[in-house]
């Protein structure tokens, strides 16, 4: 029942649909009571020999009219009610998606993709059932039950009603009991299915190990044990389910027997007519559905509540990076960073400490160091993907958290080392941040990133699909597409986060040369492992173990003869070896 309360906002939003559906259901409930009554009338008229042709025709016409009206009403409520519940599913999915777009990377590390997906699919379906089927069963069941009872008492006989309903409380008890058993067995079946899913996932993920150790027969054997459990759990559900029918059947049968027996007696006494008895037994069958609905509703609402809780949990999680800055204008791209210390949540170790630097507008700033030295973390702090209380990062002399996130991030164009491409066309991938760009603009950016030639060779050039349904790109091609993506936006500050690692040296130099021309007067931050990318930088900082070890221009750093110089030397050798051999 809690679920109905929780979904109050939705019912209020779509109250018209529900009102129409309820009105239709109410009318149907009333109208379906008429045919048995007509039948009874006709039967009595036949029995008493009072039936005339005109009367017969009138009754039949009434019956047909009701049939057609009820048909229309049944179609109507289905459209309204199911339409509304489908709408709820679409809304919930949208809500979840919107929420996900607000979450920072930490959130996606805590929640596995599979789990998030399950919530957006299975749980949404369960809630949808609560707003559709369950509401129907609840409303229609209660309504039909009440109307039938009233009619039985008013139109036929309260004594006969009482007699016929004697076995029903017993059925109610059994339904309640089965409901409990159902809940337990069903939960177990769901759990087992989940295990089956896990096991299958584990086996497919570990397929290399399984194959390397020739484990297929063992795994198939072990898998059989899991499927055995799943079958057993499902069979337990089926066994409970199989009890419903006989109980309903016996109750209804006994009810009939009592009704006909008692009815016969009262007919004999002259208190009842044979037609009334026919009407009565027809009404009796109408009570089966409300009894069913009672168990069914409880089951659906229970499942809906559980699902809603899981989704709510997701929607309640707060974004770690709050978008509560108000500043919307950035005049200059001057960056002034003072990072006292930063460590990732849940970690004791400082990833960065005592880092101070400035980037003047229009300059090229280099950050070098080996993997794990904190280069990428530094970039994440600049973009407020991560944040630290013990740091002060100023953009245009204001704390970056004073800006709206959108404003802040619009200043930067980041090319990550392992760029993510979406399974859309190459053109759409390049135009990610600038969807209105023309094909010419896209091509221009691709040329600057030295990827245009590659794209021309693809089967459908810029319209080639990327990913599972399209072509697979090499790491270098992906990086260059990501570079084109950033160049198309032409951001005030361009950041290459080791973005040329998979590109060969010659292409790297070509891209850098084009960049130098193209981005004259704008700021570039180049993070790299390969030092050839920062030779022309205005300032280079060398990061080691999370702090700045050295800084200066390329020529200055070479002179000191420390890490930077050695690294540069070996990279020169490496390049020579790679070409020489």
């Amino acid at each position: 029942m809690i679920i109905l309360h929780k979904l109050g906002w939705f019912f209020r939003l779509y109250w018209k649909r529900y009102a129409i559906a309820f009105a239709a259901l109410l009318m149907i409930s009333c109208l379906t009571m008429v045919p048995p009554w007509i039948t009874g009338q006709v039967v009595d008229a036949i029995a008493n020999d009072t039936l005339t042709y005109e009367r017969l025709l009138n009754e039949i016409m009434l019956l047909l009219g009701i049939g057609i009206v009820v048909y229309g009403l049944r179609v109507l409520w289905r459209r309204q009610l199911y339409g509304a519940s489908f709408q709820l599913a679409a809304l919930m999915r949208g809500k979840i998606y919107d929420h996900l777009t607000l979450m920072a990377p930490g959130f996606f590390q805590r929640h596995h993709t599979g789990d998030l997906m399950a919530r957006a699919t299975n749980d949404v379906t369960a809630i949808e059932m609560s707003a559709g089927e369950a509401i129907l069963a609840l409303f229609d069941g209660v309504l039909t039950g009440m109307i039938v009872l009233i009619l039985m008492v008013v139109l036929v006989s309260w004594k006969l009603t009482l007699l016929a309903l004697l076995p029903w409380p017993l059925m109610g008890y059994f339904m309640w009991r089965f409901g409990h058993q159902m809940h337990d067995t069903f939960s177990e079946a769901q759990r087992q299915f989940s295990l089956l899913n896990d096991k299958t996932q584990e086996n497919i993920s570990g397929i290399r190990l399984i194959k390397a150790f020739g484990q297929q027969p063992q795994m198939v054997h072990a898998y059989r044990a899991v499927t055995d459990d799943v079958s057993a759990a499902n069979l337990a559900v089926a066994k409970v389910e199989a009890k419903y029918d006989p109980v309903i059947f016996l109750t209804v049968g006994t009810s009939f027997l009592l009704a006909v027996g008692g009815g016969a007696f009262w007919i004999h006494q002259g208190e009842l007519t044979i037609g009334e008895l026919t009407t009565f037994t027809m009404y009796l069958t109408f009570l089966i559905w409300p009894m069913f609905a009672y168990g069914w509703t409880l089951n659906l609402l229970e499942r809906g509540s559980a699902a809603h809780k899981r989704i709510d949990e997701l929607l309640q999680s707060r974004a770690e990076i709050r978008d509560d800055g108000t500043r919307e204008r950035v005049e200059s791209t001057h960056i002034d960073a003072h990072i006292k210390r930063f460590c990732y949540p849940g970690s004791e170790l400082d990833t960065l400490h005592n880092i101070d630097f400035q980037v003047t507008p229009g300059s090229t700033f280099g950050i070098v160091g080996h993997t794990g030295s904190g280069k990428s973390t530094l970039i994440q702090l600049l973009l407020r993907i991560q944040q630290s209380d013990a740091s002060e990062i100023l953009l245009d002399h204001h704390e970056i958290s004073d800006y709206r996130l959108e404003t802040l991030r619009a200043q930067f164009g980041l090319v990550a080392q392992d760029p993510f491409l979406f399974s859309v066309t190459i053109a759409e991938n390049i135009a990610l941040g600038c969807p209105q760009a023309s094909l010419d603009e896209i091509r221009r950016a691709a040329q600057l990133a030295c990827i245009d030639d590659d794209i021309q060779n693809f089967p459908e050039q810029y319209d080639t699909l990327v990913g599972e349904r399209g072509i697979t790109l090499s790491g270098g091609q992906k990086q260059r597409i990501a570079i084109a993506r950033a160049l198309l936006i032409d951001p005030p500050i361009l950041i290459f986060d080791d973005a040329l690692s998979a590109v060969d040296v010659k292409t790297e130099q070509r891209i850098l040369a084009q960049l130098k021309q193209q981005r004259r007067g704008r700021t570039n931050i180049i993070v790299c492992h390969r030092l050839s990318a920062v030779i022309d930088a205005d300032e280079i900082v060398v990061l080691r173990h999370g702090t700045i070890e050295a800084r200066g221009r390329h020529a200055q750093l070479l002179k000191h003869g420390d890490w930077y110089a050695q690294m540069f030397q070996y990279q020169q050798i490496e390049a020579a070896v790679a070409h020489g051999e």
């Binding site: 057609i68 049944r74 489908f86 777009t101 198939v220 079958s231 029918d245």
Partner: protein
């Protein structure tokens, strides 16, 4: 035979699984017939009661010896009810057993198939989609057995029973009711035709929603950084709206053609019946009991038809799921003919002019030839992407080279049975997979030797060889200590030692270490070095390492560059030659390269 199987429709193939246990099926059918007969008998008895006793007012209770027939009618009615309830329950359970067994069989078959697919298949198919076929699709198939076939048979029986009962009462009226059947059949056919495309569309859209969601979760950072949240939200909403509309159209079709329609038909037939009775009664008297019985039967007649139409939706889902599952089951696996008598006894490895490419475009291994004599320790080094790991994958027969042959003990790799190859070639990988199980099971992986669990002595020996035994001894329950999935109660190094023990427990002739020392501390690395020293000379060792200290003692080191061997020799020999090895070594010695 096999082709025959594939040419059958998914429905017939699915039904084939249910025919597996014919005895159970026959039992279920017989019970179903009894239940239906007993169910149908009830109204007949009541009709008898009304016509013979109630209407004529025939109530001389005391005159008849052996009890009044009315009492016997009541008893018979109760008896039939009990029989119907009991047999119904028993047949439902039997049908469910058949359904579960069928689904289980399909699941096991698909799983067994998937696990035998070549690795290249896994490179191209996302894990999620494969898992979904094994679990979700088979789950949809379950509905076919439980809710479609069973209910179809049951309802058909009921309809048949009702028709027979009606015919006994009045065959002319029966004909009126029978008109119902072709109309419903036509509507069902129409529904099938109209709903199939809508249904496929809704399913395809749902699949798109899932794919989009999955991709967005993966690439959320990119979306956020490029400030495209609004556009992505908008696109997603459009997708869910499309899905909503497709489903709404589906629901409309359901509403117009399914339950409400059959309900309308039922009213038409009721009207027809009443009219016929009424019309007849104008000329000559009719039996009131017959009217009662017909009205009662009409309900029993319509209900099964309504149920059948309600299940059509599930039927469609199951068939689509079945198609997907069979597509996977029918994937051809090319199996090489192997010789069960081919054994690996020495461990000599030979690569003869091997060429290999994963995608047929980019050459990963370019004309490599090498020989490793039995019992020798050979190592391969090279930059990332030089093809080192590919070589081991080829040796493990995960992929087949496009050109050239690989020989073990002078016999081609394909000659060995799967069991023999896996027993004789052990491997330790970079990131060992730890199962949710005890240390012992993680070492043996549940394998048997000669159908008996692996002996403790062998396990301990392997653990000792791997330098793991002392660690295990210190664990609270020794070899019975439970490990969790990501192995968090073992350090990275210990996990690697466990992987080594795992490889050694089968006493392989060849041991491959594929970057096994990449992520571990120098203490553990030293242990692995010791283990390798002890094994040196006893079995053939092929070690791929980024960390050169691991392989200093190797008999021969091969330097791989862009799929070719460009340097080979012992550690000292290579160190004294200018080239990649010397360069790599010096970089590492100075702590410049990432280890």
């Amino acid at each position: 035979m096999v082709n025959n199987e594939k040419s059958r429709t998914p429905f017939r193939r699915l039904i084939g699984y249910a025919l597996h246990d014919r005895r159970l099926l026959y039992q279920a059918l017989v019970l179903l017939v009894i239940a239906t007969a007993a169910d149908v008998a009830g109204p007949l008895l009541i009709k008898h009661f009304l016509d013979d006793y109630v209407v004529p007012g025939n109530w001389q209770m005391e005159a008849i010896p052996g009890g009044h027939p009315v009492i016997w009618l009541g008893v018979a009615y109760l008896f039939f009810m009990l029989v119907a309830a009991g047999t119904n329950y028993l047949q439902a359970i039997r049908l469910n057993v058949i359904a579960q067994a069928s689904v289980q069989k399909i699941r096991e078959q698909v799983f067994a198939k998937v696990i035998r697919l070549p690795l290249s298949h896994f490179d191209h198919t996302p894990t999620g989609s494969m898992v979904s076929r094994i679990t979700n699709d088979t789950e949809s198939i379950k509905e076919l057995y439980v809710n479609v076939v069973g209910s179809f048979i049951q309802n058909m029986m009921r309809i048949l029973g009702v028709i027979i009962a009606m015919a006994i009462l009045d065959w002319q009226l029966m004909i009126i009711c029978l008109l119902f059947v072709p109309v419903v059949a036509i509507v069902m056919w129409l529904y099938q035709r109209l709903s199939a495309p809508l249904f496929h569309k809704a399913r395809a859209l749902l699949s798109d929603i899932n794919a989009r969601l999955h991709e967005s979760i993966q690439g959320m950072k990119v979306v956020q950084l490029s400030g495209q949240q609004h556009r992505f939200r908008h696109n997603f909403t459009r997708l869910t709206e499309d899905h909503y509309r497709a489903r709404r159209r589906n629901a409309h079709l359901d509403a117009w053609l399914l339950r409400p329609f059959v309900d309308l038909l039922q009213k038409l037939v009721l009207a027809g019946l009443l009219f016929t009775f009424g019309y007849q009664s104008l000329d000559h008297p009719v039996e009131i009991g017959v009217i009662y019985a017909f009205v009662a039967y009409l309900g029993r007649f319509a209900e099964p038809l309504i149920e059948i139409t309600q299940r059509l939706n599930l039927y469609q889902q199951a068939i689509v799921a079945g198609e997907r599952v069979f597509e996977l089951l029918d994937t051809e696996i090319v199996t090489e003919r192997c010789d069960d008598n081919a054994h690996i006894t020495q461990g000599k490895i030979e690569f003869d002019h091997i060429h290999f490419s994963y995608d047929g475009k980019q050459q990963v291994i370019n004309d490599i030839s090498l020989t490793i004599p039995a019992g020798k320790f050979h190592a391969i080094v090279g930059h990332t992407g030089s093809g080192k790991s590919t070589l081991t994958q080829l040796l493990l027969r995960f992929y087949t080279p496009q050109q050239g042959t690989i020989l073990i003990d002078d016999q081609p790799l394909n000659a060995f049975s799967e069991t023999e190859l896996r027993r004789a070639v052990g491997i330790v990988q970079q990131d060992p997979f730890i199962f949710n199980s005890s240390v012992r099971d993680n070492i043996t992986l549940g394998q048997m030797i000669n159908d008996k669990p692996i002996d403790d002595a062998i396990i301990i020996k392997a653990a000792q060889q791997a330098g793991l035994h002392a660690h295990v001894e210190r664990l609270p329950q020794g070899y019975e200590t439970m490990l969790d999935e990501r192995g968090s109660n073992l350090s990275t190094g210990q996990r690697q030692l466990l992987a080594l023990a795992r490889a050694l427990v089968h006493r392989p002739q060849i041991l491959i270490l594929d970057e096994a020392t990449a992520n571990i501390d120098s203490h553990t690395e030293a242990k692995i070095q010791q283990a390798l020293q002890k094994l040196h000379g006893k079995i053939t060792l092929l070690v791929i390492a980024h960390r050169l200290s691991t392989i200093e003692k190797a008999d021969e080191i091969m330097v791989l560059h862009q799929g070719e061997i460009i340097q080979r020799g012992s550690h000292t020999a290579l160190l004294n030659k200018a080239g990649i090895y010397q360069h790599l070594y010096r970089m590492q010695a100075m702590g410049m390269e990432d280890e």
